[in-house]
Every structure is written in C-alpha cells, then in structure tokens.
Symmetry: D2
Subunit: 334 residues, 4 copies
C-alpha cells in the first residue's frame, strides 16, 4: 500500500522533502505539490513522476489523491494549513514551528484534540533532530542510565551566515527552538525556566549574534545554548550531556581527513542540509510508516510544538527584560 | 514505474538487501525471494508485502514478476545463477565474488558479452565500498588532484572474528578482495603485481591471520593491505592515500563520544553491516535507477569482478610460493 | 650563577615544585625547605642534595642561603609569608591564591608597592595555566587576530573527586579561580561582571557540584565556566574561544590511542599534575630566569591575584544572592 | 654534584643539545663546545655562561673540565671521536648513527668492551624516540601485555622536505634507522630479516621517495615502515602495534584545534625538533643521571647502534638486489 502525499511549499525544504519522499522513502508517493508560485511548483514536480502542481494549498489538502499532507511553506501559513488538514481528517506533518505565536499553537492543539478526541492524533511536527543518528545515540545512552543522572548540558548551534531577515527574535524562534525541543526530548523533562544573555556581538551583523541562552528543566538540569548564526567557519551542531559519572556528546560526522600544508583537517558542512540529510530521510520514513499503520506519530506532536514555542516566548521575554530568569508559561488548553 | 526484483538467498545478505529494497529504495519492489531452505525464505517474505517465497532460484529468474535479479546466495552458485539471468536477458546484481574461480569468471564475462554485444551489460557486482560515502569522498578528492599524484596507499580491513570455515585462501577471496576492487577503482589503474606476507599469527586461530599483502598498480603506486579477520577489538576499515603534497584518509564514522572511567572513547561496529549500511542502500538505489533507465551500471561490472579474482589468484599464488612477487594474469576473453 | 630557593611547604605542591626546581630547571637550587611538620620536610629534602629542612618558614625567608622564596603552604599562610618575603626584599613566588580574602590581597599589593615603588616587583603568583603550551598557543593565536574579535568563550574545569573539605565557596576560590585569571589573560580584558548558576547537583556530594558561572569582560565577551570537581570520568580542562570568523580551542593532550573491546579510546589524567606538569616546569624556569636577571616577572603579579580574588568574591556574592548579576568590585589601593 | 659536559658540534643538533643541557637538565653544565668552525662554536657558547669554545674536538675530549662528552658532529666523525672518548675513560653520548659503516660500528663496540670489560659501558647512543612520552606509553602498554601478543606493526616517518644531499641510501641510514632501533626496543626482539620496496616516486625529487620497508623480528612480528622525506604536508611520525586483542598507536601530539573556513584542523610540526623536544630533554637528563651515578646507560648502547646499522645494511642490500628478502647479518665481535 502506498499513501499519496501532498506537499505544500516548493522552497528548499518542500522540494527537499518531496525528493526524499520520492527517492528514499518507501510506502509513499508525492501526488500533488503546491506553491503560491505555480512555476516553482512545476519545476519541482517535473522530477516527480505522477505528481501534479498547484498554487492552491487548500485544494491540495482536499484532493482525493492526497492521503496525508506535508507542510513546508512559510511559517505564517502553518497554523491555517494544519487546521485545514485537521478538518479533512488527514494526517499532517508540518515543519517547525507549529505557528508563529503561542496563541495560534494553542488553537491548533485544541482543534486537533477536538477533532480526534482520544483517537490517534493527526499532527506531526518536523523537529528532525529526534531522528538524527547522533541524537538517537545520545538518547539511547541516557535511557541506559549507566552514567547516572544528567546534571548539565552544553548545546551549540552555529551556522555560516544568517538569512537577510534574521533578527534577535528569529534567532530564537527559528534556530534555538531546535534546542527547546531536543533538550526536553533527551532528558524526558520539560523546560521550566530560561534566561537570555548577549555575548559581544559579531561585527557587520545587524542583530545580536551570537546569543547565549540558559534552560532549566523540571529536574534541575541546566543547559547552555550557544546560538551563532553567522559563525562563518561552518555549520556546527554540538551537544554534551554531563552526568554524574561521565559525559556523552555528539561527534562531528566526518568521512575523510586531509593532511596538507602543515594541517590535519576534516570538513564542516556549509549548512544544515548535509548535516541532517539522514535525519530528514529517517523522519519521513517514520511518519509514512505511522500514517500507513494508523499508529501514533513517533515525531514531535503538536503539543511538543506548543511547548517549544512557550519556551521561545519566555526566552524572548528574558531578552527584552534584561536577561532576567523567566518561567516558561504553558497556556491552559481548556 | 516500479521494477520487480527477485532476490536469491535469504541469509544475512539476501534478507538485508530485500529489506533495504523494500524500505529505503524507490522504484523497486521485491516480488519473489528464493532460498534452498523454503522456510527461511518464508520468514523473510513475511515482512515484504506482495512478495512470494520459493525454493527454486531458476524459477525465480524466469518468473514474469521478476524484472531484475539480485543474487546473494552461496558463492558457489553465483556463476550458474548469473548465467541463467543472462539467458533471460534480465539485469542481475550479484554479491561478490562473481564466481569462485577465475575460469568461471571468464565464462560469465564471455556469456554476457555474447548476449549483449555492444548493448548495455546485464551484470552488476556488489562491491559496495564504491558507494560508501567515505570512499566516494576519497575518489572525489583524488579526481580533483590537488594533492598531486598518489604514490602509496595503506589499506586496513579488520573484523572481530572470522567464520568457522575461514582459511588462508578465503581470507583473500572473501575479505581482501574488497581491496582488490577498491584500490584500482580509486586510482583508476589496474593491479599488476602482488606479494603476500605472513605476520606473526594470532593464537587460537586455525589459519594465518593477520595477513599482509602488497599490491602494485600499473602507475607504480604501492598499496599495503592489512587483513585481520580476528582482530577482536572491532570492525575497522581504513584507507590512507599518500600523494605528493599530502594525504587523504577515511575517518571512522562515529556519532557519539563517551567520557567515562579515565577514558574518552568512541565505538566500533561489531561487523560490517552498520559500517556499510549506507553503502548498501545507495548501491541498491543506483542499481535500480540504472535498470529502470536502461543505462550502464554504475556498479562494478562483471569484468571488474574478473579482475578482482585475477588479483586474488595472484595473491594466493604468492602465498603458496614463499611470498614472491607475482604478476597478475588476466585471462584472455576471446 | 645559581640562585638559592627556599621552598615553604612539603605537601604535594611544595614537594613537586622542589623536585621540579632540582631536576628540570636551570639556574636554581633548593637550599632550604620548610614545613610545619619537620619530618615531612626531611623526607622531601632527602632527595635534594645540599638542601636543609626546617619547620620555621620565617627563618627560611631570612636565611642567607635563600635568594628567592617559593610559597606552597596552606592558603591561610600565604599573605603573611609573602609580607615577610617583601620585608627581606626577596623575590617570592606564591601558589594561588594570593590570600584567602580580598582585603588581605589588597594589603599584600600595597605592601609590595610600598616596598619597591617603581622598581621591579617582588611577588609572582602561580597561575600556571599561563605557561601551559595549549593556553600559550591560544593566546598566540588570539594575538595574531586572524579570526576577528573574540565574542564568547566556553571554559570547562572538571576533576575526578574533590577534597573532603570542599564547599560551594572553595569550588570557586580554589578551582574556578584559575578561569578568573586565564580568561582576562587570554582576552587582555578585565572581568567586570559575573553570575553564578546551580545545575542539578551530583548525588552523594556534600556541596553544589557542578557549578556554572558566567563571566563578562570589559569588551563584552561572555564566558561560560563549567566547574565540576566530582566529574568522576577524568581530569579535564577545556577552553574554546569563539571569534567572528572561527574558533580556537584546547585539545586534550594525548600520546596513545587504544583499540579494544569495540572502543577506540584515549586516556584522561586522574588529576591536575600530569596535565600541567609542563606548565609548572616552564613557569618555574621563567620565574628563575626573571629573578636571575632582575627583570619583571612574566608570571601573574600580585595585582593579578587581587583581581582574581575580586572576581571570586563577586561570584560568591552571586551564589548567595540568587544568581543575580554582580559587578566585580576591585578595592582601591590608595 | 654537577658534571661538566663537552659538546662536539655546533650545528642544529649540537647547539640544541647544549642549550637543553644548560636550560632544562639538572646536574650538568656545558664546559667546552667544539666545532671545526670556531666562530660557529663561539656563537653557541655566547649563550652558555662558563663554557669555552674550541675547534679541536680531541682537545675537548681530553679537557679536565669535561667529565662526559656529547657528540653531535658529522656522522663521519662519530667513530673516531667515540674511540677517543673511550680511551680517556669518559662517558660519551653520540648522536645516531654510531658510525657510517657496520665495520666501524663493530670496531667501536670492540673498543668499548676491551676498555671496560665487565664494567659500566661508556657509550650511549642518541635514539631519542626511546624517551618520547608517546613511545614510552606504547612500551609500557606492551609490557602490561593486556592485548596479547603483538603481531604486526605499522610505522610511518614523514618529513616536509629532505636535505639536498639525500639519497636512496641516506633515507635508510639517516631516517628509517630510527625505526630499526625503536621496533626491536618496543618488541624486545631483534630484527632478523628485511625487504625494501619502491612505491611510485614523488615528482621533482632526485631519489626514491617514499620508500616502503618490511621488517621481521625474531618472534615473527612483521613491521611496515613508510619513510617519506618529502611528504610536504608536515612532520609526521606514527606507529601502530596490532596485537591479538587490540591495537595501540601513537597520537599526533596537539594542543589546539582551529575551526575556520569550513575546516576543523590541528597543526603539524614543520620538522622533528618540536615533535621530539621533550624526548631530547628527557634523554639528556637520563644520561646525565646515569653518568652522575655511574650506572649503566638507560639510552641505546653502542651494541644497539651496531644492530641498527646491521639492519640498515640489510635494507640497502635489498634495495640493490630487487627488493628480495635479506637476512640481517650481525658481525661477530670476537
């Protein structure tokens, strides 16, 4: 059995997911692809045998050829499109964030709960680090517990250069938000309080970059998050978990070492795509499998997305209020 | 368009390939799976929707549901099964080796040439290292040529423990043979002469283990090959290419580092499967794509397999004749 | 010309310094060694040809055979002994800290200034990291400035187990204080404000361990300091400096890698002595050279020691006041 | 007690040793320094308080201020100078090689035996790798024997560029000879047979570079030696010992890692001096200590030097005779 997937968005993420679904995932085929720029949709569809292009995302969601929806359009469209998918009763995987605001996130979660009750939820959220083989190894090691209780984490998330539109706030909601999901996922604990700190700012960058964020989870574990969008030297994601008897940490995945010019070196990726290509592939397969079997999503849920946004809100409050410690406020849903 | 693949062999390799085809490769589905032990075939087929089990590999090859054949049965059956596939005109991917003897290899190559003439060859050979992302990076770097001409290579191929049936000769034909393919593939040069050397033998092992082999390619590059099937400590494949201005080498792929008990450590795989899982997946996709498009195989060809066997023969001659330098003799095909 | 050095303290540090002076430093010999436990002094002196033991540190300082004094006795004695050395006009190298309290530090600095005026200072302080080849490489790289301005630093200082007397405060004044010296030394900037944060505490430890400290220098660079005295897994000092175009970081110095039991591993030191043996040797040689030539000390000065204590005081204030940001107050000296 | 050392040779090695003796070794002072170029000797002596310059090495050896002799002059002078030192009954440390020819080596060994009989030998040979902390860790690990018997070794010795006078033979006698000493020292076994192999030669180099040498010790362990004097990329010495249950290997000693320009890198030394600075210092201290105490040298002996030359002779024979396996012939001494 093969499910038909409708992909919304023909940008880097949407085109990438469509290609991955077509090439590397079993049990699914892309049947419709939507973009507000129909030509852009057509270019992507040209590589996808049997798929149609449209500029109408809502028509895509309603299309009989679409059994499940993958949303990779602009953040501002996420909530509305997820709601539409929920109304049709179709499973939907949305790229992070769930919605730009916490209020919209809550609305989405309520809508899903109202639609499915105690049934299998419809919404999955694309926090792909949960499927990165490195993070999975960290989580497995934590669950074995041989190093005692975790106490302290150090997270680093650096890129080569930011998008032109980047701001202090988008650095939090667009990049650091991955840590707001992966830290509680690893520890099995919610983030309860945060604070935001400004290192010296890099010259020639329009916003505060890098940023340093402290996160505390319910069990008291403290995490440092170093987010630096214009780090120049490479795309570099690190994570070290310090526990009572030892530490575990990600290694930079490398395949080749070069000796040349008095240096021994390995390469960095220039952006997140090669670093997380495996994670996206595995994530999409896991989603397609769950949709096919009708089992609960192994991906982040809508509620996980709401929690990440709640943390982002608290961090931005701290940013705006002198770096004070801010408690994470999770909206009541009823 | 989806091609139907018939898989011969339900052992570790056959079951693994069938699962990879089903789960991670697009454009193909396993339609029939054969094993001389029908029950073993049935167990594997139970996980493959739409596939049938049989104990008759020749029936599988002839089956209308089979567009292409994947052979992962015992080495002794390879030549015969490939010949059968060639007779049906179906593309066939065979696990290495092409055949146990050089004479049979030559027979297979002749049969294929006779069948297809100047057309697209039918036979692909499963030297998966050609698709390992690390080896691919080495080859890409060599082709850029920024380090000048390659001069010397060091290859290491170590495993945790050998099969009970391992012998001096099978160590060459079963393990070192990967180097006999990958060294010329990397350098773009045939291996012309070899010599075999016996280090001190590991205690408690019935055959000469480790072995050291020297290979010389037509351009004069000398390669050392350290093959140690019972190295105990881990599955470990290394390759360093020393060129005029620098070196390139594989790194051990790791995802997690552990600090514990006064040691900082990363893990080794216990066997080749996790180390080359990506390679197998990428290889199978490349094969399916070429079969679908009717283009020449990007995998090793039957002739590449014959060349690797010719090197193995020369190495075994050196082994039996005091480690002398032996020229590689490639059978004439006409 | 050889200078006679009087060493005060026959504990681990004093005995170690005496041996290093005797064995690995040119231009100096240990002539007198003092300890309140005369027998302990005698044991150390037995390995030092020509040296005498005493239980009277003040007599040692006054001794004609003593041209320069090295203080490695209990922290509580530092100020008093330095003052005595200043009174004799003899150069003195004191292990950190300069004194247990900031007031005493100020008193020592005033006494030295009053004694030497514009002349060559007498007091050197044993912040040995300034002579560690790794930190020296970091500082050299920073001074070349090829990576642009430093923005953010991550410092880690972990040990296997703490002394029985360790407390929240001694963790700061005894261990983190190394960072309070080395961060401004690396950056060429004073630390101006700090905050203290408590991660989840390790079980079975009587005090808050680990601790996380944030330091800000005058140029705005923010540093995280992770101090964990009972990290169990090894003695581990790390430092990463994130600059505008790249990062530099210490590597763990290792000499041997072991492949065994499905792991590839390198060793950690069990305590600080092997890690900083080179640093101590180089530091002592630099001190002896400066004393011999009558040139200003290349080690940390008394004022550097005062500054480090001022930072420690601010950190402890933050610790006692809910982790708030505390400005570093440096006592006026006139 | 301080011994007076006379240093013969004011080149890189002699000047380096003189400085190390003066600065970093206890119990010795350089009293006389000889060079055939008296001005060169004077330049070095200017940095050595109390030392005199001479152009007469034999006068130096006879000088009453010289208790022990360190020879770092041209290889061709070694045997003659050692013989002179033996005649005076003074301990002598000679840089490798003991002598240019095996016959001269034998003469030196006979002269020493004749002079000292059953007494403490006079001659030490400067195979400094025996004091490199990395090699010492390898030897310690081997002596613990936890990995079972050694079976196979891989040695790599690469430099940036060779001296203008380098030849096929000098590559063996000047560089590979370090392996001919360190391999038997590590394994506790003599090298009994060798063979020499020519990889493709680097362009623009006047002699065969790199070279590959196989060594077999009496216990059957086989060692590969990759010597490449013009490797360009850095000074790089590696050693891996493959044993029955695992491997141990040197790591490249590094202190700092740099992230920059999509690369993570560490540095190589440009020549052997920084790589082996610690080894030289520790070696000289060990020599001075043994001389002072009148105990047998912990360095390589004259006989060790003779053995290394015997291996070099065998390797050169193999080089000249088509790479055949050549047995190492050790001259009879009586």
């Amino acid at each position: 059995m093969t499910i038909g997937v409708g992909v919304v968005g023909a940008g880097i993420m949407g085109a990438g997911h469509a290609k991955t679904l077509h090439r590397s995932v079993s049990g699914a085929e892309v049947t419709v692809l939507a973009d507000i720029d129909l030509n852009r949709a057509r270019v992507v569809v040209a590589e996808l045998p049997g798929a149609r292009a449209t500029d109408d995302a809502f028509a895509l969601i309603a299309d009989d050829a679409v059994d499940a929806v993958l949303i990779a359009s602009h953040d501002s469209t996420h909530a509305e499109l997820i709601m539409a998918a929920i109304r049709t009763g179709k499973p939907v995987l949305c790229e992070k964030p769930l919605a730009p605001t916490l209020a919209e996130c809550a609305e989405v979660v309520r809508a899903e709960r109202s639609a499915v009750g105690d049934g299998v939820p419809l919404v999955s959220l694309g926090f792909m680090r949960r499927f990165d083989p490195g993070y999975v190894q960290l989580k497995d090691a934590l669950s074995r517990g041989t190093q005692g209780a975790p106490l302290l984490m150090h997270c680093i998330s650096r890129g080569v250069s930011s998008a032109p539109s980047a701001t202090n706030e988008s650095s939090v909601t667009g990049s650091a938000i991955h840590e707001f999901d992966v830290v509680p996922w690893l520890l099995g604990q919610r983030i309860t309080e945060v604070s935001w700190h400004a290192p010296r700012a890099a010259g020639g960058v329009e916003f505060q970059d890098p940023q340093l964020i402290l996160l505390r989870t319910a069990d008291g574990v403290l995490s440092t998050v170093d987010v630096f969008l214009n780090a120049r030297y490479g795309y570099d994601v690190r994570c070290e978990i310090v526990s009572e008897k030892g530490t575990i940490a990600l290694t930079e995945p490398t395949r080749m070492v070069v000796d040349s010019g008095l240096r021994r070196s390995v390469g960095y990726a220039a952006d997140w795509r090669p670093r997380f290509a495996d994670a996206y592939r595995i994530e999409l397969q896991a989603w397609v499998d769950a949709v096919t079997k009708g089992t609960p999503t192994p991906l982040a849920t809508a509620y996980d997305g709401l929690l990440a946004n709640a943390v982002a809100d608290a961090v931005i409050t701290s940013m705006h209020e002198g770096g004070r410690v801010v408690a994470v406020a999770v909206p009541a849903l009823d």
